[in-house]
């Protein structure tokens, strides 16, 4: 073949990448992740409302929000942790343990002090796991698995293996007071999501958490405080477990050392359905909220339809797998 010399070619000083890139029409693939998840949530909502006349009733919708509170709050902390590329299996057992701490504190202290003690102990345990994981560079899965076992065991020991029900009835106000017609527990949920969203989007700490999960080494080289912000998410997760425990106990006025069993799996599922990557760096707090709603809606819908609770696990599991699979198949980005 003869060489093709520049004289015979079209003058070209075009940017090689930019111009060769074809304009993509708007498509499912190019839409932001949250929009796709929101669409999925709507599809589920519409399907359920077609199948059950009760689903769209205002009472049921409020019920849905009410049911989202505990999982929703715990999922915020889980989002933080997963964004750094970690995982926290201890949140469920921390809900049990901090609940028990709250119950015991209520015997001696006024309500605000008792709540503060519960939140501080949750944060303290989070600090413990986070520090061990980040400082010694250990697997989050293993350390939090250990903390999970310890937490549940302490919950049994502190509570004397029974539920605590002699707690002040005024705790009920924490949940059932309404502001602008919204229950305070739902309000707490929404406020916490707003705060978390603001933190992750508009603060140095939030962006650092993303950077750590995406490329720890690059974050370090750019001067970000990798150790500190690797620990923060576990502290947040611990503290939020205590807040979830507080709202849970306030609602039923009884504290069970078994409370929150399996909650960590629901939270992980919500975060993953919300589009986060377990490798870290990818995911949003809004996505997680949608993920929580999807989970709760399916539970609620299956209840309304009279599906046996034993089948619900299969349904939730199938949704998780389908959501993650759809995300992979639709994602324009290839896996790293």
């Amino acid at each position: 073949m003869k060489p093709d010399f520049p004289g015979t070619m079209k003058a070209s000083n075009r940017a090689p990448d930019g111009e060769r890139r074809a304009r993509a029409p708007f498509s499912v693939r190019s839409a932001p992740l949250e929009l796709r998840m929101l669409a999925l949530a709507l599809v589920i909502a519409i399907t359920l409302s077609l199948m059950s006349p009760y689903f769209l009733k205002p009472a049921n919708l409020l019920n849905l929000l009410d049911q989202s509170v505990v999982t929703g709050i715990v999922s915020i902390g889980m989002t933080f942790v997963i964004l750094t590329g970690g995982i926290d299996l201890s949140v469920g057992s921390l809900v049990g343990l901090t609940g028990v701490i709250l119950g015991l504190s209520l015997h001696h202290f006024p309500i605000p002090v008792a709540i503060a003690l519960a939140v501080l102990s949750g944060a303290g345990i989070g600090l413990f796991s986070g520090f061990i994981i980040a400082y010694f560079d250990l697997a989050a899965f293993v350390i939090t698995l250990g903390v999970m076992a310890i937490g549940r065991s302490l919950a049994y020991i502190f509570s004397g293996q029974t539920s605590i029900s002699d707690i002040p009835a005024s705790l009920n106000d924490l949940v059932y007071t309404t502001v602008f017609g919204v229950q305070t527990n739902v309000l707490t949920l929404l406020v916490l999501y707003a705060l978390a969203w603001g933190y992750l989007t508009f603060t140095k700490g939030g962006r650092t958490i993303y950077a750590i999960g995406s490329n720890r080494e690059a974050a370090r080289t750019a001067g970000l405080s990798v150790l500190f912000y690797s620990v923060v998410p576990y502290v947040v997760a611990g503290a939020l477990s205590a807040i979830a425990a507080t709202l849970m106990s306030s609602q039923i006025l009884s504290i069970d050392p078994l409370a929150g069993t399996g909650l960590e799996l629901d939270a992980i599922a919500a975060v993953v359905i919300g589009g986060a990557s377990l490798y870290g760096g990818r995911g949003t707090i809004i996505g997680t909220l949608i993920g929580v709603f999807i989970m709760v809606m399916i539970r609620n819908g299956l209840n309304l339809l009279g599906v046996s609770p034993f089948w619900q696990g299969s349904a939730i599991g199938a949704i998780i797998i389908a959501a993650v699979l759809a995300e992979r198949l639709l994602s324009p980005r290839t896996r790293r």
């Binding site: 073949m1 090689p16 060769r20 603060t203 140095k204 490329n215 080289t221 750019a222 001067g223």
Partner: protein, 624 residues
């Protein structure tokens, strides 16, 4: 040369998502020939290589190999057909040993493997590459340096005994001596009738090694199988970038008189790789840090930047003692650091391009919020200065950019902070020629505004073209500090030689010195200066005062007459009362390696010069 091509690819097209990487690319290869595949970054060389080696499928086009159509849908199928590729981004398994990595492709085949035979073969391959003693077969691949990983990658391809080997930028992280070894290996493969594809950004290498050249631009083949001898460098660059390029290195600014150093390093120690490093760098100066890969250059600057713990030594920034324990402290004190491995140390793929640019700001920023707003204006200026399209800042993934664009964004990350000291580790690795020239221009501008710049480079040509002064490191010790005006690649190569051979050379000099109760040195002489590479003295009275790593003028030494005369006999210098003999030395291959000098007092009887020359030449060869 031969008739039927071994390999032929026609009209290959390939698109990734929305990007058309290949648009009708052609490549024809003959057995027993080295074929250079060239093009600016993003031209499609790597994609074409990966199509050929089965790593990615093609959308359309025909491939014929050994006269039959070939449709390799996986690297495995390509390997079975005898096509191997040395990847640019290394594809080693970090937890496996060097040995296991070399034979990784064999582990995918059924049947049993003999570990002893594997070891033997691996050792042979590594010694061909000149790494026999340097690279342990049992080391974990994840622990290796970039150059060592690249060498293992090459060894892996050689172990396959393929007929067609694609080297995708194999020399990017190798030192000159390693490159020379690799070229020997390629020559041997060539004579064994292999077809070699050589992808490189370094045009000198292309001219040194290739028989034919194919040039790609924007996914197309714009020149196919042109004989290398029929092209010159200018024509080649024009083919690659589609336009004329000025000189890549602008005229070097003369080494001005600098004031107090901005950064002053004394006896820096960070075991195991940094042993004793000292240097100064001044405002407005571009300082080069040279040496072989593994000499501790990256580790030195990482220690200064607070990325590695420091075991000893002193660092002064603007006269004040300074010891950062974290990069954040260094950044706030005025350091910027463009690390060597962009993908691993610089790019955060899940943040937008804009946030990647702002990442250094975020590290330096104190406060709860982001403080992005106050950087807006400066970002706009920088984007213009770096000739980057501002609208691309909004893009989601920096990894979609070409290597050159990525590097500009990372450099902008630090320029945004207006650092006092900007350190760049291999700033033009994997960067095309056009972008290189503009990066050099930017660095010069930044230096002109008063920053001190430290550049590490394995390309001696780059060091000489860009820096005003070069510090040479060897085995973690700074051994020379010379203005580039007095240096050339040959001198740098010899200065950077690894310690082990320097040690043997020193022993030889020591012996010579004590034999004649005088001094001995190894140096390169040009018209007016003597570059001292190594020296030893047995008699303090006969010491010509040549320090290793310096380049005094002849008249500044006490043996000026002898250095000027270049006689085959001993020459006395009346002023100092010393007499000296210079003996030119060469390598086995006849390569000139400077001169060995012997100095004795003039009042002593001189030994017979001819016999002396003979022994020195013989024994010097043995030290190499």
């Amino acid at each position: 040369m031969t008739d039927e091509p071994l390999f032929e690819a026609r009209d290959i097209s390939k698109s990734f998502a929305q990007t058309r990487a290949l648009v009708g690319a052609n490549l024809t290869l003959r057995a027993g020939a080295t074929h250079a595949l060239l093009g600016a970054n993003g031209a499609g060389k790597s994609t074409l290589s990966r199509v050929i080696s089965g790593h990615v499928g093609r959308d359309s086009g025909v491939i014929r190999y050994r006269g039959a159509p070939l449709d390799a849908r996986s690297p495995r199928e390509a390997l079975d057909a005898g096509i191997a590729m040395v990847m640019q981004e290394t594809s080693l398994a970090p937890d496996l040993s060097v040995l296991e990595n070399i034979f990784l492709p064999d582990l995918g085949r059924p049947g049993r493997l003999s570990r002893a035979a594997m070891r033997r073969r691996a050792r042979d391959i590594l010694s061909d590459l000149g790494q026999a003693g340097a690279l342990s077969l049992d080391a974990e691949a994840g622990e290796l340096s970039a150059a060592q990983r690249q060498l293992v990658e090459i060894a892996k391809a050689l172990a396959l005994k393929a007929n067609l080997i694609i080297f995708d930028e194999p020399t990017a992280s190798l030192s000159p001596s390693e490159v020379e070894r690799l070229f020997d290996v390629i020559a041997r493969l060539k004579s064994a009738q292999c077809a070699i594809v050589f992808v490189s950004h370094r045009l000198e290498e292309v001219f040194a090694i290739s028989d034919e050249i194919t040039v790609m631009r924007e996914g197309r083949t714009v020149a196919a199988s042109v004989a290398t001898s029929s092209l010159n460098q200018t024509e080649l660059v024009r083919l690659m970038v589609g336009r004329e390029l000025g000189a890549i290195y602008a005229a070097r600014a003369p080494a001005a008189a600098y004031g107090e150093p901005v950064l002053s390093i004394r006896g820096l120690k960070a075991p195991p790789l940094v042993r004793d490093v000292s240097f100064d760098v001044h405002r407005g100066e571009i300082l080069g840090l040279g040496g072989l890969v593994g000499a501790g250059r990256s580790e030195t600057v990482e220690t200064i930047f607070g990325l590695r713990p420091r075991a000893g030594g002193e660092v002064r920034l603007e006269g004040r003692a300074f010891a950062p324990r974290t990069p954040a402290q260094a950044i706030r004190a005025g350091f910027g650091f463009v690390a060597e491995d962009r993908r691993r140390q610089s790019i955060v793929p899940d943040l937008t391009v804009r946030e990647n640019l702002l990442l250094g700001h975020l590290g330096a920023h104190r406060g709860f919020g982001l403080g992005y707003a106050k950087r807006e204006r400066r970002i706009a200026q920088l984007m213009e200065r770096l000739e980057l399209p501002a609208h691309r800042l909004a893009e989601a993934n920096l990894l979609n950019f070409s290597g050159g664009m990525q590097q500009k964004i990372i450099i902008a990350r630090w320029l945004l902070l207006e650092p006092k000291v900007l350190i760049l580790d291999e700033p033009t690795k994997g960067v095309d020629i056009g972008t290189r020239a503009s990066i050099y221009a930017i660095l010069r501008d930044v230096a002109a505004t008063g920053a001190a710049i430290v550049v590490i480079s394995s390309e001696f040509e780059e060091l000489l073209g860009l820096a005003q002064r070069v510090i040479v490191l060897s085995d973690g010790t700074s051994i020379a500090d010379l203005p580039t005006a007095h240096l050339d690649e040959e001198k740098l190569t010899l200065l950077a030689a690894p310690r082990s051979s320097m040690e043997r050379c020193r022993n030889l000099l020591q012996e010579l010195a004590s034999q004649c109760d005088g001094a001995a040195f190894w140096a390169i002489l040009d018209e007016e200066r003597v570059f001292c590479l190594n020296a030893a003295a047995a008699n303090a009275n006969a010491d010509p005062a040549l320090r290793v790593g310096t380049a005094p003028r002849f008249e500044e030494t006490s043996i000026a007459t002898g250095l000027r005369a270049r006689s085959r006999e001993f020459v006395a210098d009346s002023k100092s009362g010393l007499q000296s003999l210079l003996v030119d030395v060469r390598s086995e291959r006849g390569h000139e390696l400077g001169s060995i000098g012997v100095v004795i007092r003039a009042d002593r009887p001189a030994p017979p010069a001819a016999a002396m020359r003979e022994t020195i030449q013989q024994r010097f060869r043995a030290t190499l």
